[in-house]
């Protein structure tokens, strides 16, 4: 009898203790790429998440934040394993991050089937915006098609008649190519989808020779991370600069620019790209983010970092709006949907598919007052733009 009583007491107190521990913190799992050459992107996101936590004093409302970072190794299968671990073993409340569309597509179900919230801080595959949209999936980035659509629109505006498209052969690469083809009214003279993944193709000599022979007026590329720097070097070495102007999305960013500068590739100065954010955006949240990032890490943050920073702020806004009651999923979802926080890109709203409805800007590569290469907003291409897949989402 006594033994039984003691046992019950121990179990009961254990339940109370773990229950209390759960209530005292909000657990966020963050999946990004920390190894392989793409690790530089993950590093930028990690830096930004850590800066965000520093800015909010590691607290959301009266709850402490417990962050668990995981490395997807640039592989969908590893990403899914890490996501499963976060959901099942760590029992996190939110899973955020994801640079790569194919990793997100492989991992999404693990989070959503467990009735947890999934916040993409970068990847925006068309599937998640359309047929596979989900009530617990939110994005602090964009849908893949949107940024290249803005670029296609800009190319129309300046009267470019024909382009050549180059992009990696994976989910996002195809979305990007479709995006620009969707809005560009001129002729697409040719298209190359190159090998992607941990052993991605980095020597583009054959494709550049084809692009040149195609006689297209301009070249449009999407090469995120390290491939971007490699592409721009080869573009300049092939003598295409001045012959075929370069228009990019997610290629010339704060990660590629310092290296391009170190290699002395001045050809990239003045080149144009489209994006929903830029380090020079003039709002209080962005000034604080970019200013402190520069101070802490000695370089500009990239859009990956900006979106990762926003993902933490979005979660914070929802946790605070529900007074830290993480059990009430409906209230949390409603609060996330409101996007009631100061995004570094300025305020935005969510569409029916939980993708941001936001502005897209034309950015130019310039030298800042201290001689560092960065991007500056030139004009607004789209105001409050919604992605084209929202109509396929049944929410």
């Amino acid at each position: 009898m006594l033994v039984k009583l003691i046992r019950t007491t121990i179990i009961a107190s254990a339940i109370i203790v773990t229950g209390m521990a759960q209530a005292a913190s909000v657990k966020i799992g963050f999946v990004t790429t920390l190894t392989t050459p793409a690790g530089v992107i993950g590093e930028d996101m990690k830096n930004s998440v850590e800066l965000a936590l520093q800015h909010i004093g590691n607290k959301m409302g009266n709850l402490d934040v417990e962050l668990i970072m995981e490395d997807d190794g640039f592989k969908p299968d590893v990403g899914k394993q890490k996501t499963d671990k976060l959901v099942k073993q760590d029992d996190v409340d939110f899973v955020a991050g994801y640079i790569w569309s194919h990793v997100l597509l492989a991992s999404a179900r693990s989070v959503l089937d467990a009735d947890k919230f999934l916040i993409s801080a970068n990847a925006g595959p068309s599937q998640m915006a359309g047929s596979r949209c989900h009530k617990n999936f939110f994005s602090t980035s964009w849908q893949n098609d949107q940024t290249p659509m803005a670029m296609g629109e800009y190319l129309n505006q300046i009267g470019v008649k024909s382009i050549y498209i180059m992009s990696p052969n994976y989910a996002a690469g195809k979305d990007m190519a479709n995006g620009v083809e969707n809005t560009f009214k001129g002729e697409v003279k040719g298209k190359d989808l190159t090998k992607w993944g941990a052993d991605a193709q980095l020597d583009f000599s054959a494709e550049l020779a084809k692009a040149k022979a195609s006689g297209a007026e301009a070249i449009f590329v999407f090469y995120p991370g390290k491939a971007g720097g490699a592409f721009i070097k080869q573009y300049q070495q092939a003598g295409l600069q001045g012959v075929m102007p370069l228009y990019t999305v997610f290629t010339v960013d704060s990660i590629a620019l310092p290296k391009l500068q170190a290699a002395g590739l001045t050809g990239v100065l003045g080149s144009k790209n489209t994006q929903e954010w830029s380090p020079d955006m003039d709002n209080a949240a962005n000034k604080r983010f970019v200013g402190d990032y520069l101070k802490k890490y000695g370089k500009y943050p990239s859009f990956y970092g900006a979106q990762a920073y926003d993902s933490i702020m979005l979660i914070k806004s929802a946790v605070e709006a529900t007074a830290g009651n993480l059990k009430d999923k409906d209230a949390l979802r409603k609060a996330l949907m409101a996007a009631d926080f100061d995004s570094v890109r300025g305020r935005y709203t969510y569409g029916n598919n939980h993708m941001p409805i936001q502005n897209f800007y034309l950015r130019e590569v310039v030298e800042d007052s201290e001689g560092r290469w960065t991007t500056k907003i030139v004009s607004t291409v789209y105001k409050n733009h919604q992605d084209p897949h929202a109509k396929d989402c049944k929410m």
């Binding site: 530089v40 590093e43 989808l193 190159t194 090998k195 020597d203 494709e207 040149k212 720097g229």
Partner: protein, 307 residues
């Protein structure tokens, strides 16, 4: 038919082939002579790129970077042979694979600790960043330099292997190692030189490619697989075989990347061809390897006396 395009693509294929040859020639000698499977051969490729990049960053001279970098990789190769590989020659192939796979991890992590995760760009002198114009043909100067350097090394290696005493021993070692040992040759010294030489050539390949793609962690691990394919197609231990096989793979890879989508587009809808072509062109070299293994398992140009 656009002849200018075809010529530039042939040059691109040649360039890729020569880089593969630099990697594969060392690999095939180490494999053929010492019967040692060196998965970490790609690490020398990476180390070469980082050594060269670091020296260029300090001295500003690309030439100096390549020369000192070569010496550096030679030393690293010699140390690996001396302290690690030497103890394993008599062990099983599986042991070679395990140890050299471990070496890959060690080298990758060391590079991460020393140089960070972000990779390293290697600036080129302006003259190399330009183009050479022949009529309507515009060729990047640097790519021509790679071709020139690759052909030079191939020629030197040919003379070394076919005309010198060292080369004779190397050929003898590749054909019948036991006999060379039995004849009283200091096999340890021969192995040391071959290993370090192979490492230096892999390092040179890394140095040459890095100004195009930049030096990064694990850069050798992707290309080493293709280098093994070259070794198998060419015949294990055969430098001549490695040369022809590398040229063949370089051309197949480049030409399929440039023309396969057009060819496939003739037989299927364009949107399928666009997706299928890159996948198929990535597979072609492995299909070729499978065919070689099926019909001529000793490779296309096996060393004399090897059956």
């Amino acid at each position: 038919m656009d002849w200018n395009l075809l010529i530039s693509q042939l040059m691109n294929g040649l360039q890729l082939g020569l880089l593969l040859f630099l990697l594969a020639s060392g690999l095939t000698l180490i494999f053929g002579i010492m019967d040692f499977i060196n998965l970490s051969h790609g690490s020398f490729y990476m180390i070469g790129a980082y050594f060269c990049g670091t020296i260029v960053a300090y001295t500003g001279s690309f030439l100096l970077g390549v020369l000192l970098g070569l010496a550096g990789v030679f030393v690293v190769g010699a140390l690996v042979e001396w302290f690690i590989a030497r103890k394993l020659y008599r062990a099983d192939h599986l042991d070679h694979v395990l140890v050299t796979f471990g070496l890959i991890l060690i080298f990758d992590t060391l590079v991460h600790i020393l140089w960070g995760a972000s990779g390293m760009a290697i600036p080129l002198p302006d003259v190399l960043n330009g183009q050479i114009i022949l009529g309507n043909l515009v060729l990047p100067t640097y790519r021509l330099l790679i071709i020139f350097a690759g052909l030079m090394v191939a020629a030197i290696l040919y003379l070394l292997v076919s005309k010198t005493r060292l080369g004779m021993l190397i050929r003898a070692g590749a054909s019948n190692r036991t006999m060379v040992e039995a004849l009283g040759i200091n096999i340890n010294r021969l192995f040391l030189i071959v290993f370090a030489l192979g490492a230096a050539m892999a390092g040179l390949a890394g140095m040459l490619i890095a100004p195009i793609t930049e030096a990064s962690i694990g850069m050798g691990n992707d290309i080493i697989i293709v280098a093994f394919v070259v070794v198998i197609i060419g015949g294990i231990g055969s430098v001549k075989g490695a040369f022809y096989a590398a040229m063949m793979l370089g051309l197949i890879d480049t030409l399929s990347r440039s023309y396969l989508d057009v060819l496939l587009g003739l037989t299927m809808p364009v949107e399928y061809a666009e997706t299928a072509a890159p996948a198929l062109s990535a597979m072609l070299i492995y299909i070729l390897m499978a065919a070689v293994l099926a019909f001529r398992p000793q490779g296309l140009f096996p060393p004399a006396g090897m059956k």
